[in-house]
């Protein structure tokens, strides 16, 4: 864990997604790894520049779905064959086609909840405090109309002066030093 004091990183503000993606790509080529883009809507090109591909959400969804299917169908079989066997018009106790529908619904229920809450958990949310919220221009623009690149201080290549000079070549609107 990085220390919770001092500088969190340098935050560069851009007006267009193109400038952001370009700066991110160049930062990656320059060897920066601990960095993140902040945009008002998903910018896939920025994820490319960050080399971020694997989300882990589909796997969680799959595991959830399989668990839902086993739980739902298994419960039905146990209830209607062993737990509380009922003779309904002479139908077999193990009426597998009739059990498909609740099993199917629980597959979807578990898969959907896993995808949604898995996404939130993998994102580390809820996290009501974040150092970036200290930057006034971030709060004003990040979810509105501005595009931000943050080079974080715990990157081995980070230096308050050199990193600032590096970012200045992309002529951002502003560069703000963000404190923890």
């Amino acid at each position: 864990m990085p220390p919770r004091e001092g500088v969190y990183g340098l935050l560069a503000e851009f007006n267009t997604p193109s400038e952001l993606v370009h700066a991110t790509e160049m930062a990656h080529r320059a060897g920066y790894r601990r960095m993140e883009c902040y945009t008002p809507y998903p910018v896939e090109e920025a994820a490319e520049a960050l080399r971020f591909h694997k989300t882990g959400v589909p796997l969680m969804c799959l595991v959830g779905g399989v668990m839902g299917l086993i739980t739902g169908y298994g419960m039905e079989v146990w209830v209607n064959v062993w737990g509380y066997p009922l003779n309904i018009a002479g139908r077999p106790l193990f009426s597998w086609p009739a059990f498909v529908i609740p099993g199917y619904e629980w597959t979807i229920l578990f898969a959907g909840l896993s995808a949604a809450f898995g996404m939130i958990a993998l994102n580390g949310l809820p996290q009501l405090y974040h150092p970036l919220f200290n930057a006034p221009n971030f709060r004003d623009g990040a979810l509105n109309d501005k595009f931000f690149l943050c080079l974080e201080a715990h990157d081995p290549r980070f230096s308050p002066t050199e990193t600032r000079t590096f970012l200045e070549q992309f002529s951002p609107v502003s560069i703000v030093e963000v404190d923890h």
Partner: protein, 481 residues
Amino acid sequence: MATQGPIHDPEIVDPMIDPRTGEYAVIAPGHNFKSVTQKIAGIVLTANTPWAWVGGLFLAATVATGVIIAVTWLVLKGVGIWGVTIPGAWGFAIINFVWWIGIGHAGTLISAILLLFKQQWRNSINRFAEAMTIFAVCCAGMFPLLHVGRPWLGYWLLPYPNTMNVWPQFRSPLAWDVFAVSTYATISVVFWYIGMIPDFGTLRDRAKLPIAKYFYGMLALGWRGSTRHWIRYESASLLLAGLSTPLVLSVHTTISFDFAVAAMAGWHTTIFPPYFVAGAVYSGFAMVLTLAIPIRKFYHLEDLVTLRHLDNMAKVMLATGSIVAYGYGMEVFMSWYSASHWEFFMMWNRMFGPMGWAYWILILTNIAIPLTTLWSRKLRVNVGYLFFLSFVVNIGMWFERFVIVVTSLYRDYLPSSWGTYRATKWDYMLFIGTWGMFTFLFLLFARLAPMIPMSEIKMMLPQTKVRPGGADAEVVTQEAL
């Protein structure tokens, strides 16, 4: 919604029409990231609550008290206060349940199926269509729960270990219903909320009032627009869409099984699942129009919910309405072709029996009026006509369920057990009360939550195009426009 070809009409100088395609634009020209935020967040964050909204909320609340009164009396007296009796044991409770849940299905169709088909025009209307889904499911869920007679024991429907050692019977479609509807409600709420998290973040950042900052800050969970978050978020949205698509089809299929599994003439048919699903989407799109047309007018959202949206929704109604018409035709055909005396009598009685009027209202409102007029592009972009038509179709779809439930039941196999069905004032009070409840919830949503997804609208703007090498901002904006 593919464009068939350009329409060469030199008289069209409407700036909303894209000259390349002759179609109405999905977003009016001239919008940028900031203007989208201002427009949509402004509706929620303004200090001035419009008087018309307050009046509407008051009126809706007044109508919704019907629910409270009718349910209180029902709990005190029992379902005997309703018109349900033998042989017509299903009455308004099931009609209204199927009608409301069908309305909800358009929201899921818009948010999930159209997302998978990459129909970007859906972005403007998906949020309030999803809200409509949730409020419609709230209204729908109440009816079967009350219809069980002792709603306070409703939890007996759930599989849980209990001292009586009794468990549900999973061969019954009514047990399937519990699973289908509860899953549908849960996934719809989750999908809706997940979709709103980034917009709650925008509202949190722009709110002035401390209570609004707190409220939206909590709801936003600390969303900060990080790219890694966005990619996971997109992945989860796509997965939820992929899961909701079979879910929405399965829910109305399960509801149709409530009928089709029973060995009852008029119900026991294999066409029920597809035709129920198509009917649900048909009525749901009608309800989206009923809501969207006043909202875009009242909040001046004509440049985000454009005539293109209305046109496309009308086309979906035309398609699903045609499937429904095919279903009606096939029902009539099969009752003759089956050579079953009971089926044939049921259909004859449905059309020309004492309740035949309901069948002909259904044909008039669901088939005759919409399916003859919706072919005309002029009428599909005529806002007033579509608003009128949306009511016509919703009335028609209510009568469809009335015809299916009542006319199949009240004259069954044994003439000695024939009866009739007449709804009581308590049936009407509860049904009309749910309209008030639905409107009440929807008005609260329109005031307190972002009705149109800001981030998704921004994704459709030309400024989102990424130029290699980080081209100058001015150039990009110029080229984009």
